[in-house]
């Protein structure tokens, strides 16, 4: 019989709870089977008995049970006292274990044949065999282990993710911190940009000065040319007015041939005069001082007089041919040849390149696109281009003089002789032709007005440039001798205006570029100022390593995500045949390592009556591989039968010590499995080798059965 009582005072924060045995009887037979629900006190009774019988000193006690016993002694939140008396069938042997004061040690005594002696742990171990066990269920334990792997993997995955995010933040911080290398690069870029800006700015100023000079030259020259022309027309008008007074209205009778020839002569003379007007201003500038008297002769030519008298002065052609010879000599200077040839070649190259100007190709060896390359070529050949234009203009002027000569010849050798002959020998068929000096006067006056208008325009432009009427000639003389202006002496008015417009466009573009560059310089300066104000980052020299570790974290995180999928497949048993036979080496390797890990963690496993060292546990196929080569199926483990065999093994001891057997949570075992245990307990009790046998099982209600009286 066993008699017991205990009291547990537990501090549960909101109250001091008192626990005493109130469901299971305080007196029980030596062999007893107890069923009961949770918290009915079954396990507490077994823990208390084991604790009272030096259970904590027992070496091979399961750690989980030792933990339960130790927690009963934890005085930080509870006070435990108990009294236990175990007597054998004939009352010749009694063990008493008491703890009346929670602050004092447990007292254990043995009363044998009426003699009471203390029973310390060593003596108890010598004379008694305390068997306190919970039959193991390895399947449950494996499930716990695999779930632990999942949890630990997830913890690592989350930490790697946090580390990755942190490294990313640090990289961002480093990027936004003071970076001496970046500042150095920006300063170098700024210096280069400033030099470019200064260079362009200087070029811009030069171009503006150049434009101003060219404008002053052009406007002065045009005013002087037009004043000259106005003077000539004015003289002509005076002549016409005089003639008008002399012959108020003259009816001229002409033959049809005479009228045709006169009209033809007029047309040719108009052409000649137009060419003369174009050639004269250029000749005036190109012809040197030593030949100035030819210009004076040339300027005295009066086309109305020629037409009126039907003959040219002797000097006309002579001067014209002289000019041609002078101009020809001007282009024969050998020093121009090489430069002109080069200018012609580059002009052809530029013409070809201009077809592809919008293409964004980089010119090999130059490193710029086609558009910039054209600009470089133009800039490098600027002087040669001007020379080429100068020579071309002289060639054009010679061609113009040739045309004038041709017209002269037509008039002088063909039209004028015919007209003179008709005038000398008037025919019969005359008709009236109204040719009035009044009409000629009107035409001359219209021409005067037109030229006056143009002249006024240039006078205004001169005024804008602060050139007074008195200064016109001196300013012009001074400018035309300048080397930079020299090529423009061959230019016509239109060419000069075109050049001025082109220069204005260039200057305007330069202004835009300068504004953009100025804006960029401002931004660059502010950026450097901003970066210099920043504090340097301690990892600013570790960007390469930071980026590397970020990449490694990303790889590692992905691996852990995959491992999580694999372990979930194992836990949930949802791996498909595909994945089972997968060629995915990563997954295969993972399953192998999990098997090895589980084998190591489980260590040894009992099967039937033997204990095996485990090599690996294949959770996918449910196999335990042992070191000795035996393969045990998980399905065969943890059954009531195997647990029964295990407990039988515990009871099958050969020493003479008295057994005290306490079996908890035999949940997997049914009556059939338990019967051999009960029989063995009865047998041992009958042989007086067992003092106490308690088997505890989970049940809906409290049920106490004396094993001795059981029908088994």
């Amino acid at each position: 019989m066993i008699e017991y009582n205990y009291q547990i005072k537990r501090n549960e924060e909101d109250e001091i709870a008192l626990y005493v045995p109130d469901k299971i009887p305080k007196q029980l037979p030596n062999l007893v089977y107890i069923e009961g629900p949770n918290s009915s006190g079954k396990s507490t009774l077994l823990n208390m008995i084991a604790l009272g019988l030096h259970g904590l000193k027992k070496e091979n006690m399961a750690p989980a049970l030792k933990h339960k016993m130790t927690s009963l002694l934890d005085s930080s939140y509870q006070e435990v006292t108990f009294q236990i008396r175990i007597r054998n069938r004939d009352n010749t042997l009694e063990i008493i274990s008491t703890r009346d004061d929670p602050r004092k040690p447990i007292k254990v005594y043995e009363i044998k044949n009426g003699r009471k002696v203390p029973l310390p742990p060593e003596r108890f171990e010598r004379d008694y065999n305390l068997i306190y066990d919970i039959p193991e269920n390895p399947t449950q334990r494996l499930n716990q282990l695999t779930r632990s792997i999942k949890e630990l993997q997830q913890i690592r995955k989350n930490r790697v993710a946090s580390l990755r995010a942190y490294i990313k933040t640090v990289i961002n911080d480093v990027k936004h911190s003071r970076d001496p290398e970046r500042i150095k690069t920006l300063k170098e870029e700024l210096d280069t940009a400033r030099r470019e800006y200064d260079k362009l700015s200087k070029e811009h100023e030069n171009n503006k000065n150049y434009l101003d000079m060219l404008e002053r030259y052009t406007y002065c020259r045009c005013v002087l040319d037009y004043l000259e022309k106005l003077d000539r027309i004015e003289r002509e008008i005076e002549n016409l007015k005089k003639e008008q007074k002399r012959v108020e209205r003259k009816i001229k009778k002409q033959t049809r041939e005479h009228a045709g020839l006169t009209a033809h002569a007029q047309k040719k003379m108009n052409d000649l005069e137009e060419m003369y007007d174009r050639a004269t201003p250029i000749l005036r500038n190109l012809i040197s001082e030593e030949h100035k008297h030819f210009i004076m002769l040339w300027e005295r030519i009066n086309f109305n007089d020629i037409l009126r008298h039907l003959e040219f002065s002797d000097s006309f052609r002579k001067v014209l041919l002289t000019f041609k010879a002078i101009l020809f000599n001007m282009t024969q200077d050998k020093k121009y040849d090489a430069a002109i040839e080069e200018a012609k070649i580059w002009k052809k190259v530029i013409d070809v390149l201009e077809e592809y100007e919008t293409k964004d190709f980089v010119v090999p060896g130059i490193g710029t696109n086609i558009s910039d390359f054209i600009r470089i070529l133009r800039e490098a050949n600027k002087e040669k281009d001007e020379l080429l234009e100068y020579v071309t203009n002289i060639d054009n002027l010679i061609a113009l003089l040739d045309q004038m000569d041709a017209v002269y010849k037509t008039l002088e050798t063909d039209i004028f002789p015919k007209l003179r002959k008709i005038n000398d020998d008037p025919g019969e068929e005359w008709f009236e032709n109204d040719v009035s000096p009044y009409d000629e006067l009107k035409a001359a006056q219209r021409k005067f007005e037109e030229i006056q208008e143009r002249c006024d325009f240039y006078i205004k432009e001169c005024t804008k440039k602060d050139i007074s009427d008195e200064e016109l000639q001196t300013t012009f003389d001074e400018l035309r001798l300048r080397e930079e202006i020299h090529p423009y002496n061959s230019y016509s008015e239109e060419q000069l205006l075109e050049k001025i417009n082109s220069l204005k466009e260039t200057i305007s573009e330069e202004q835009d570029v300068l504004k953009r560059k100025e804006y960029f310089l401002g931004i660059q300066e502010k950026e450097i100022e901003r970066l210099e104000k920043k504090e340097p980052h301690k990892y600013q020299n570790k960007m390469g390593e930071l980026t590397d570790f970020l990449r490694i974290c990303q790889i590692l995180e992905q691996k852990l995500v995959n491992y999580d999928k694999y372990i979930t497949e194992i836990i949930e048993g949802c791996y498909s045949m595909d994945s089972k036979n997968s060629k995915n080496q990563d997954r295969k390797k993972y399953f192998q390592e999990v098997s090895a890990y589980l084998g190591k963690r489980v260590g040894y496993i009992r099967h039937i009556n033997e204990e095996y060292k485990v090599r690996s546990i294949d959770m996918i196929n449910g196999l335990i591989n042992t070191e000795v080569g035996k393969i045990i199926r998980l399905a065969d483990m943890g059954t009531g039968q195997s647990q029964s065999a295990y407990l039988m093994g515990q009871l099958n001891v050969t020493d003479n010590r008295k057994i005290i057997a306490l079996f908890d949570e035999v949940a997997m075992m049914d009556k059939t499995s338990l019967t051999p245990i009960f029989k063995k307990l009865r047998e041992l009790y009958a042989e007086d080798r067992l003092l106490l046998g308690i088997v505890v099982q989970m049940g809906q209600e409290i049920k106490i059965e004396d094993i001795e009286g059981m029908r088994i």
Partner: protein, 49 residues
């Protein structure tokens, strides 16, 4: 759960030394900045594979 055993389990799966190093460091009770500092300081010289 024995930490050594789980560390060995991960090392059998992850062969890259830098990845292993990260795993070892994160299993300790260190803050991210300490982990990064440890990684970067070891990164010079002997840590490079």
């Amino acid at each position: 759960m024995d930490e050594d055993d789980i560390e060995k389990f991960f090392e059998s799966l992850i062969l890259d030394k830098k990845e292993r190093k990260i795993l070892r460091l994160i299993s300790k009770d260190l803050s991210e900045d300490h982990i990064l500092e440890a990684l970067l300081n070891e990164g010079e010289g002997r840590y490079v594979e």
